[in-house]
């Protein structure tokens, strides 16, 4: 059931590049990454491509296939017609390194700025207790494999380089949401989510959700709930009135505002 697949692969680096044509034999059940590996083994030994698990678990092999952000290892050739040319380019939001590889440091910097979990002391027997229903929301977000496809597709930074310093991106909004929903966390991250992370930049157009290979409902379950939590703090007349007359939300009153973390520990080569 093999056939000869026509591909266009973007070859180049910072100084420029182009879509180059390749033809390669492929067989049934293969994915785009298989075809690229064959090109690499037989025709272009120096073709740069990032991958690890080839099972959709590590989030290394993100690229754009026929213009759509996807994992190369989870993109089956049978999704395409046999005579269709498959075009693969690197992610177009991050600086290109070479061929299909981009510099995703942006995401690691954003991760470092995000204040992490801050738990209270353990229970007397040295264990912690949390109910399954209370951890489930966070678990959805912790499925994230950090493929950064959502960060890549998000038009806030994809189309506006100048927004990068002020915008953490969907991958980190789910992290904010995870921590804000954590049954044990003692921090309040709403100010940071709105301020430093720039959640207000997101116009909930949902492309992040569309591309997430883990099927995480980024917009509905994380970004919008976070926006609502910010509204609680800043814009809701009833919450404001309630706090004036002494009605408090028990869940939030004991929490202390979190401080922004410091980036700069992820080292990259000098250029």
């Amino acid at each position: 059931m093999g056939y000869r697949l026509k591909m266009k692969l973007w070859r180049g680096d910072k100084s420029g590049g182009e879509l180059k044509d390749y033809e390669v034999d492929v067989s049934e059940g293969e994915v785009v990454l298989d075809a690229i590996h064959r090109v690499q083994a037989e025709q272009a030994g120096d073709l740069a491509v990032r991958w690890n698990c080839k099972a959709g678990k590590c989030g290394s092999c993100s690229a754009e296939i026929n213009g759509k952000p996807r994992l190369m290892c989870m993109c089956r050739l049978s999704d395409f017609e046999e005579d269709e040319t498959i075009t693969v380019t690197p992610m177009r939001t991050f600086p290109v390194v070479r061929d299909l590889v981009t510099d995703v440091t942006f995401n690691y910097e954003k991760a470092a700025e995000l204040p992490s979990f801050s738990p209270p002391p353990r229970d007397a027997d040295g264990k912690r207790r949390m109910a399954q229903v209370d951890v489930e929301r966070g678990q959805e977000f912790r499925k994230c494999i950090e493929c950064f496809l959502c960060q890549n597709v998000c038009h806030v930074v994809r189309d506006h380089e100048d927004n990068k310093p002020a915008f953490a991106g969907p991958r980190f909004f789910i992290r904010y949401a995870e921590l804000d929903m954590h049954p044990l966390d003692t921090n309040d991250r709403r100010e940071l989510a709105q301020g430093a992370a720039g959640i207000g930049m997101c116009n909930i157009t949902k492309c992040c959700t569309e591309v997430c290979p883990e099927g995480i409902k980024i917009t509905d379950n994380a970004i919008i709930p976070m926006k609502e939590r910010v509204v609680d703090k800043k814009y809701d007349p009833l919450v404001w009135l309630g706090s004036k007359i002494g009605i408090r939300n028990k869940d939030t009153e004991s929490r202390v505002p979190a401080k922004q973390g410091k980036a700069g520990h992820i080292k990259r080569p000098a250029h």
Binding site: D13, S27, E28, G29, E30, V31, D34, Q40, A41, E42, G45, D46, L47, A48, V49, R50, N52, C53, K54, A55, G56, K57, C58, S60, M74, R76, V97, D99, V101, D103, Y108, A111, A112, S116, F117, P119, R122, G126, K127, R128, R129, M130, A131, Q132, V135, G138, Q139, R142, K143, I145, E146, H182, G261, K262, H265, I266, K267, R268, P269, A270
Partner: protein, 607 residues
């Protein structure tokens, strides 16, 4: 930048360098940092992508959340029995004792494990473990673990050099570690680390085999680096073949199907529809394994009054059984056998308990595991062998060189129980980090120095593949090596085949000298592979040599020509591999097994 050009060389000074950012490396870095050492992590891939991310089932730790009867002694006993008593008893003991607190710690750092009804960390059943003991998050426990450790590392501000490959270690005249040498994958430029302690946490060797659940990173770098620095490897003949890897389609052949499928009720059948595992229960495990389907099925509901199904025997037993069935012509259409959970559990149950397996088969094989059986077969999964270290400090024979995680040896004996690796990473990662930091603080200003000549030599050696005249393609050599290892040093071994393998490896070593790579040094996978291949070859040679020498069958090592387990002779010693004098191959020696103290021996008396 052209290949020959030196380029600028970066140089950094640290107290402790950790090579590898999997569970073991990150845990070690955190421990070293907490102990006050200036620490950096260096890894080949991006942070958070190491192999640990793929672990599915869980972390074995006798926390007793499901079974109050569980404790470290039972876990210790299970581990030793799973490893066919060849384990380093002290490591098995430390592991069993400390794993619960290490898991609890992950929760302090933000991990969200699945819960029991009482709100404690839930624990699940796995092969070889007497009690439900694996702390888990669905079937993506490794992801939870690496993300938690990654986030902790970042929070603590530990420096991480990612996509940076270490190719050489430096020693001073006294033979103590003085630093490491590597290159940035992105630019191809070199980087030198000055550090009196290096912790190897580079994972396994599976990429030397054709059918494997391991990724390109598993080229045995740590094993090779340690050997070249003068340390020894032990137990290299023991390679774990996981019984259930995907067999179809070809592009995903070897990809892991988690053991939880069986833990949650899946059974193995041959092409005649027979549940064949009942024919393969070894003497050693007879007393604790069900011998009728009724009892096996009842176990899932009532574990107290029934014995466990034979599908949950340790991995080596199951893998061998599957292999025999396939060889006997009772395999499935694509050369595996059937793993069936569809006929035994509801679709809802399967989707809830095994979401990523459901997804994996649906997406990659067009198989709906809630409706049809899976086709599976053995796949190279884990290497029990690794750097020989001191059980309490994880230091190797080379002062200042430590090894933890899959690249260290001894803990798992001849066969690793599922779930024991993740615990191993945490327990020994922490010990190694602490001891490395302590060692460095004891040195004061008296640090081993890196010799400039060694740096120049390392650089020359790294760019050699660009200089060579020849015509060998590294991808082709890798392919031939994988084929040879698979066919000749696979799950069932034979003297003549192992000799053939060694001859093949010699020939491949010659070909490797003629390897050429095209292009320049910037993110050039061909070049990276050429460098990794040297490690793969030497590690493959170690495996084949040790396998040829061990004339018995035990755990992850099965000899057709020596099918019996020989407790008298081989049960009492480890095989040790070191670099030979000329440095172009490996040599073997034997070493008696450390003797277990009597107070631990008593756990094994009844059997």
């Amino acid at each position: 930048m052209s290949a020959s050009e030196q380029g600028g060389m970066e140089r950094h000074q640290y107290d402790v360098i950790v090579v590898g950012a999997g569970g073991a490396g990150l845990r070690a870095a955190i421990a070293a940092h907490d102990a006050g050492a200036k620490t950096a992590v260096v890894c080949k891939s991006l942070l958070g992508k190491a192999h640990t991310v793929m672990a599915e089932g869980g972390i074995a730790a006798a926390m007793g959340n499901r079974w109050p009867e569980d404790n470290w002694e039972v876990h210790f006993r299970d581990t030793m029995r799973g490893g066919k008593m060849l384990n380093n008893w002290r490591m098995a003991q430390l592991h069993a004792q400390e794993a619960p607190e290490r898991v609890q710690e992950l929760e302090d750092w933000g991990a969200l494990f699945d819960r029991t009804e009482d709100g404690l960390i839930s624990q699940r059943d796995f092969g070889g473990h007497k009690y439900a003991r694996l702390a888990h998050v669905g079937d993506r426990t490794g992801l939870e673990m690496i993300r938690t450790l990654q986030q902790r590392t970042v929070e603590l501000g530990i420096d991480v050099f990612m996509e940076c490959t270490v190719t050489d270690l430096f020693k001073d005249e006294s033979g103590a570690i003085s630093g490491a040498f590597g290159y940035w994958r992105e630019t191809g430029r070199f980087i030198q680390f000055d550090a009196p302690a290096v912790i190897l946490a580079t994972g396994g060797i599976g990429k030397s085999f054709k059918v494997t659940s391991n990724s390109w990173e598993y080229t045995g770098d740590g094993h090779a680096l340690a050997m070249r620095a003068g340390a020894a490897l032990i137990n290299m003949e023991f390679v774990q073949f996981h019984p259930t890897g995907m067999v179809w389609p070809p592009s995903v052949k070897g990809l892991l199907v988690t053991e939880s499928v069986r833990g949650d009720g899946g059974i193995l059948k041959n092409s005649e529809g027979k549940r064949f595992m009942f024919d393969y229960i070894p003497e050693f495990f007879k007393s604790e394994t069900a011998d009728t389907e009724e009892e096996a099925d009842a176990w899932y509901e009532d574990k107290k009054n029934n014995r466990r199904p034979p599908e949950l025997l340790p991995r080596d037993e199951v893998a061998r059984a599957i292999n025999s069935e396939i060889k006997a012509g009772r395999g499935s259409p694509h050369g595996g056998i059937f793993l069936d959970i569809a006929s035994r559990r509801t679709p809802e149950f399967i989707k809830k308990r095994l979401p990523s397996m459901y997804h994996q088969f649906k997406e990659l094989a067009d198989v709906d595991i809630t409706a049809e059986p899976m086709e599976i077969g053995p796949t190279c999964h884990y290497v029990m062998g690794g750097v020989e270290v001191d059980a309490d400090t994880q230091e190797s024979a080379v002062p200042g060189l430590y090894a933890v995680g899959e690249c260290s040896g001894g803990m798992h004996g001849s066969n690793r129980l599922g779930g024991n690796s993740l615990g191993d990473l945490l327990v020994f990662g922490k010990l190694a980090g602490e001891h490395a930091a302590k060692k460095v603080s004891g040195l004061g200003a008296n640090r081993p120095a890196v010799a400039p000549d060694d740096v120049a030599a390392a650089a020359t050696s790294a760019v050699a593949p660009f200089e060579v005249e020849g015509g060998e393609n590294p991808y082709a050599i890798q392919h031939d090596l994988q084929q040879a290892m698979n066919d000749l040093v696979g799950i069932i071994r034979e003297g003549a085949e192992l000799e053939q393998a060694l001859a093949d490896i010699e020939a491949l070593k010659e070909r490797a000298k003629q390897m050429v790579v095209e292009g320049h040094r910037q993110y050039n996978p061909g070049w990276h592979l050429a460098l990794d291949l040297r490690n793969m070859l030497i590690v493959s040679e170690s495996i084949a040599k040790a396998a040829l020498a061990r004339e018995e069958s035990r755990g992850g090592h099965t000899r057709n020509d020596f099918p019996k387990t020989d407790h008298e002779v081989w049960g009492k010693k480890n095989l040790v591999v070191t670099l030979n004098d000329s440095g172009d191959g490996v040599q073997l020696s034997e070493k008696p097994l450390p003797v277990m103290p009597d107070e631990l021996k008593k756990y094994f008396e009844e059997s």
